[in-house]
C-alpha cells in the first residue's frame, strides 16, 4: 500500500513541475508568450463547390465566394484546403454517414472485426490534448449542437461512431456537452463557492488524496478482472486521473493567486488584455443563438486558458433541419439534389449558415486583445465538413479552412 501511494505522490509532483514552468509564472523576467490553442468545428455532408471554392487567388479577398462572405474581415488569415485525404470507407460502404464524424479526426477506419465495439484510433484533438492538456484545468473541451443519442448502427457498426468525433483512446469515445449551462459550470467548476477560502483549499487537497486512494483500489480491482472488463475500467482510471489533474491545476492557480497578492509574482495577464467575455445563455430555441453561445463558451475557455484544445460538432448527419433559414427540409435529403437548383440552393444556404457561426467565433477571437496581438493570433481554428459519397458530388474530400500559421505545441 505504502509503495503505491508513494508512487502516486511522485507522479503528482512530476506533473506539477512543468505546469509551473509552462504557465509562465516561474520565469518572471521573460516576456509572457500566450500558449497556442487548437479548435475544430464540423458540419456534415458536402458543400456546393461553386459557392465555396474561390475562382482565383487574386479576387479571393475582394470578392470571396458566397459561402465565405461571413469571414470577410479575416479572410487574409484563412487558408483553404481541399483534397485532404478522405478515408475510403471500403468495407463499411454501407455506412457513409455513420463514419463521417468518427473518421474525421482519426483518419482511420474502425477495426472491421470489432465493428460493434468502439475500436478506431485516438483523434487529432486528443493527440494534442495529450501534449498540452496537463497544463490546463480541462485537458480538452468537447461541444455539440445535437444530443449524441441518435441511433444508427449501419453495417453493424457501434452507434458511437455515428455521433462522436473525439476519441480519447482507440476504444473510448468522448461524449460532447450540449447544454451551455453545464459547459459554463464545467469551465468554472464550483461557481457557487468561493475558491479562495482556506477551508475550500483544504477540501480540494483532501479530494485529491481521496481520489488517489480510490484510484489505488481501482487498480487492485483491475487485476482481478478479465481482460474485457479491464478495458472498461481503464476509462474509469483515465477519468479519475483527469479529475485529479484538474484539481491539481486549481491548487496551483490558488497558490499563484496567493503569491501574486503578496507581490511576489507577476500575473500572466497584462492590463492590456481584454477582460473575459460575458456569456449570455439564450432563452429561445433559435439555432444561430444556440450555436453562438457554444462558440462564446469555446472562446471563453481559450481566453481564460481553461483548455487549449476543443472540438465542436456543429451539426450531425441525419434528421437535422434549419427552420431559421425559411425551409423545413432536412439537410441530408437536400444533399441528394441531383443538380435540382432549388435543392442545391438550400444546401448552399445551410453551408453559409454553418460557416457564419464559425466566422462568429473566430471574429470574436480576433476582437479580443491578448499579449501583443489578438486571441486569434494564438489560435489555430479549423472548420471542416464530412466526407460523403453521393451521385451529385463526385469529389470525396475534406474541405477545410485553416489558419495560416506554423504550430509549435
Amino acid at each position: 500500500m505504502m509503495h503505491r501511494r508513494t508512487c502516486l505522490r511522485g507522479l503528482g509532483a512530476a506533473l506539477a513541475l512543468p505546469l509551473m514552468d509552462v504557465m509562465g509564472w516561474a520565469e518572471t523576467n521573460k516576456e509572457y508568450k500566450p500558449p497556442v490553442r487548437l479548435g475544430f468545428m464540423y458540419m456534415p455532408h458536402g458543400v456546393i463547390m461553386d459557392q465555396f471554392w474561390p475562382k482565383d487567388a487574386d479576387s479571393f479577398l475582394s470578392s470571396p465566394p458566397p459561402a465565405l462572405e461571413s469571414l470577410r474581415p479575416i479572410l487574409d488569415q484563412c487558408l483553404l484546403m481541399k483534397g485532404i485525404a478522405g478515408v475510403p470507407i471500403g468495407p463499411f460502404s454501407g455506412a457513409p454517414h455513420a463514419l463521417e464524424l468518427s473518421t474525421w479526426l482519426t483518419a482511420t477506419l474502425p477495426n472491421s472485426d470489432k465493428r460493434n465495439e468502439v475500436n478506431i484510433a485516438i483523434s487529432a484533438d486528443q493527440v494534442a490534448a495529450n501534449f498540452v492538456g496537463a497544463f490546463t484545468t480541462l485537458p480538452s473541451l468537447e461541444l455539440a449542437t445535437m444530443p449524441q443519442t441518435w441511433k444508427e448502427n449501419q453495417a453493424g457498426l457501434n452507434e458511437a461512431y455515428y455521433s462522436h468525433c473525439s476519441f480519447r483512446s482507440p476504444t473510448q469515445a468522448l461524449p460532447a456537452e450540449i447544454n451551455p449551462r453545464s459547459v459554463l459550470n464545467r469551465l468554472f467548476h464550483r461557481d457557487d463557492k468561493k475558491v479562495d477560502s482556506p477551508s475550500e483549499e483544504r477540501r480540494e487537497a483532501l479530494d485529491r488524496s481521496l481520489l488517489d486512494l480510490v484510484l489505488g483500489g481501482a487498480r487492485e480491482l483491475r487485476r482481478t478482472l478479465p481482460q474485457s472488463d479491464q478495458q472498461k475500467l481503464d476509462e474509469y482510471l483515465d477519468s479519475v486521473r483527469s479529475v485529479e489533474r484538474r484539481i491539481a491545476a486549481i491548487e496551483t492557480r490558488q497558490k499563484e493567486a496567493a503569491l501574486e497578492k503578496a507581490g511576489l509574482r507577476s500575473s500572466k495577464r497584462t492590463d492590456a488584455d481584454s477582460p473575459p467575455i460575458e456569456i449570455k445563455i439564450p432563452e429561445g430555441d433559435k439555432r444561430s443563438e444556440y450555436m453562438q453561445v457554444m462558440c462564446d463558451l469555446n472562446v471563453l475557455a481559450f481566453q481564460s486558458d481553461i483548455t487549449r484544445v476543443s472540438t465542436y460538432i456543429g451539426s450531425t448527419p441525419n434528421g437535422v433541419s434549419y427552420p431559421e433559414l425559411g425551409f423545413k427540409d432536412q439537410h441530408h435529403s437536400q444533399t441528394h439534389h441531383n443538380d435540382q437548383p432549388e435543392m442545391v440552393n438550400k444546401v448552399a444556404k445551410i453551408t453559409e449558415f454553418n460557416i457564419a457561426q464559425f466566422a462568429y467565433m473566430v471574429k470574436k477571437m480576433h476582437s479580443l486583445r491578448e499579449a501583443d496581438g489578438t486571441l486569434l493570433d494564438h489560435c489555430i481554428m479549423m472548420w471542416a465538413r464530412g466526407s460523403r459519397m453521393a451521385t451529385s458530388i463526385h469529389v470525396r474530400t475534406f474541405r477545410s479552412l485553416w489558419r495560416d500559421e506554423v504550430v509549435e505545441l
Partner: protein, 647 residues
Amino acid sequence: MIRFGLVFIFLSTGLVTCNAQLSPQGLKEDQKYAELAADADKNFRESVSPFVKKYCIECHQNKRPTEAGVNFSPAIQKPGDAAFTQQWKKSIARVKAHDMPPAHANHQPSEEERKTFVEGVAKLKFLSPKDPGLFVIRRLTKTEYGNTLRDLLGVDRSIADALPDEVSGAGYLNSLTPIQMELYLGMAKRAVEQLKVSTNPRSVQLRDQFFQSENISEKETIGVAESAARGLAKKVYRRPPSQQEVDVLLSVYHLGIKNELSHRASLQLMLEAMLVSPQFLFITPAESIDPGSRTVRVDDFQLASRLSYLIWGTMPDEELTSLAEARKLHELDILQQQTTRLLMDPRSRALFDGFGAQWLGMTDLRTKTFDTTKYPQVTDELRSAMYDEARLFFECVVRENRSVADFIDSDFTFLNSSLASIYGIELPLDIQKMQRWQLNPSDRGGLLGMPGVLAATSFPNRTSPVKRGVWVLEQLLGEHVPSPPPEVPNLEDQEKEKIANLTLRQRTELHRTQAVCANCHAILDPIGFGLENFDAIGRWRDHDDTGGRIDATGELPSGERFASPRELKAILASRKEDIARNLAKKLLAYALCRNLEGYDEVVVDAIVESIATDGYRMQSLIRELVVSYPFTYRRIQLPNKPTASSE
C-alpha cells in the same frame, strides 16, 4: 474389458455431476444443434449463396462504388458472423417486399426462389457457435444510479439529474468520461450531505447502524471503522468486499483523521470514497475469474444485480442478496421464484419506464410537439394520463400474468377524467387518479386503441398512416421495414392544387403511385389506414380533416382483410407467436444491453417454444429469459484474434 468399461462409466458419472453440459440431456441438445447447423450450412450453399450470386452480387460486391453501400462479398464468406446479422435481416425485408432486386434488373427471382432465400437466411443463426455474447462490466445508467442512491441512502434520486442523458436501450453507450467522473464526485458529496440530515427511515437506520460516534472509546474507533467499512461496502458494492477493498476504505478513514476530521466525518469520507469507486458505479463480479476462461457463469451477486436492475431499475434487496450469499440464486427454481417475486412488487414499474415506454415509442410523449391550436386539450395532465394508461395496462398484463395477445385485444383500460374525454366517455365525477375501466367489446381496448400510442405515432397536426403501419409491423410484429430512399418527397411537398380536395388516404395513395415507394407502402399503408378512425390524439372520428368519410378497410401482407380497427385488432391478436417472439427479442436485447446476434436467435426460439405451451404468458416469457444462457452466462474474451480474411 469389463472392468475397463466399468471404470469408464464411473468416470463419466463423475463428470456429469460437475459439468452440466455433459449431461445426457445436454449432449442430446448439442447433437440436435449440430444437425441444425449442418442443415443451415447445406441450405446456405444450395439456395442462399446461389441466390446472392445470381441476383445481388453484381451491384453489391467488394468493389467501389458498391451500390447503396451494401456489400455481400464478405457476408457470403462468413455467413454466420455476427457482424452481418443486421445485413441479412435487411436483405430478407427487401426481398420479401419485392424491393430488391430492383424492377429494372435483368433477372427477377421467382416467388419460389424468394421464399427459399428468405427461409435459408432465417436458418443462418444455426451457424453461430453457442455463445452467451460478450458482456463487459457496465456502468449504472442515470436512472439506475438515482434509484440506487435513493434505495441505498434514502436520499433524493434527483441528485442524478446532473448527469447527461444517455442513448437508451440496446445502444446505451456505456462509457465514462472525465466530466462524468467530476459529476460523480459532486453527487457523492451531495448524497452524503443529504444523508446527514435526511429524516427518511432508510437514512436514519443507516446513520444509526454505521455513523454512531457516541460512547466509543479512542481504542475502539479503528474496530468500529473497520466493521463500518465492511458493512457499508457490502451494501454499496452489492457484494461482500475483499480484504484489500476494506483496507483501501480504512486508509480513507485514516486520511480523514489525519486531516483533523472527527471520527464520524471520517466515516462519511469513507462513504464518499465508496460512492465514487468503480465497485459502486459499475456492476462488478464478486469472484476473481480465471484469466484463461472464455465463458463464465455470472456469479450469484452479479446475477442478483442483473435481475434487480432489469426489473426494478435499482439495487438488489436483502432477500436477493442473502440468496446470493448462500450461493443459491442461480438454481433454476429459485431464480424463477425470485423473478416472479420481483415482478409482483410495485417497484417493477421500472420495467415499463425503462423498457415498455421505449418499446411502445412513448419515451418522448411528455415533450412531443402537438399543434396546440388544433388540439388545445393536450395539457401536461393529459400527456401524463396517456403515459400512465399504457404503463398501468402493461403492468397489469405482467402482474396478472396475461397472454401477450392481451396487449392487442383486451376489454379493460385505465382512465381518469381528462383521458376519458378523449375516449368520449363521461365519468360521473372529476377523477384525477387513474381508474381501471371495463370496456364494452369495441374498437378500443388494447394498445392499438390507446391515445398515447396513437399520438406517439402521429405528426403534431395530423395522423400518419405510414408511421402507424411501421409501428405495428416493427414494434408489435417484429418485422423489419426498409427505410425510404432519401429522394422521396414528403406528403407536404406534393403539388398543392393536385391534392387540395383529397383525403389523407387518397393523398398517401397518390404518393404510392411512384414506383420507388410502391412496394413498401403497399405493405405499410393498409395497416395505418385501418387506424384512421383515430385522430392524432386518439379521438374517434368518422370523417377526415377534409370532411371525407374515413375508409378503414385494408389488408395485411399475409392477405387477411379487415374493415375496422376492431377487425384489424382481432387479426393481430391471433398472431401470438410473432408478438411473443418480438417481445422476447426486444426484452432480451434490453436485458443484455446489446444488440442481438447469431446465437441469441436460437435462445429466442427456445423461449418462444417453451412459453407456447401455456398461451404465451408474460411472466413465463420473462422467467424463461432470466434463466436463459445469455442472461446467466457471459463471454469474457474479446474477439481480438485478427482473422486471416480481415479487410
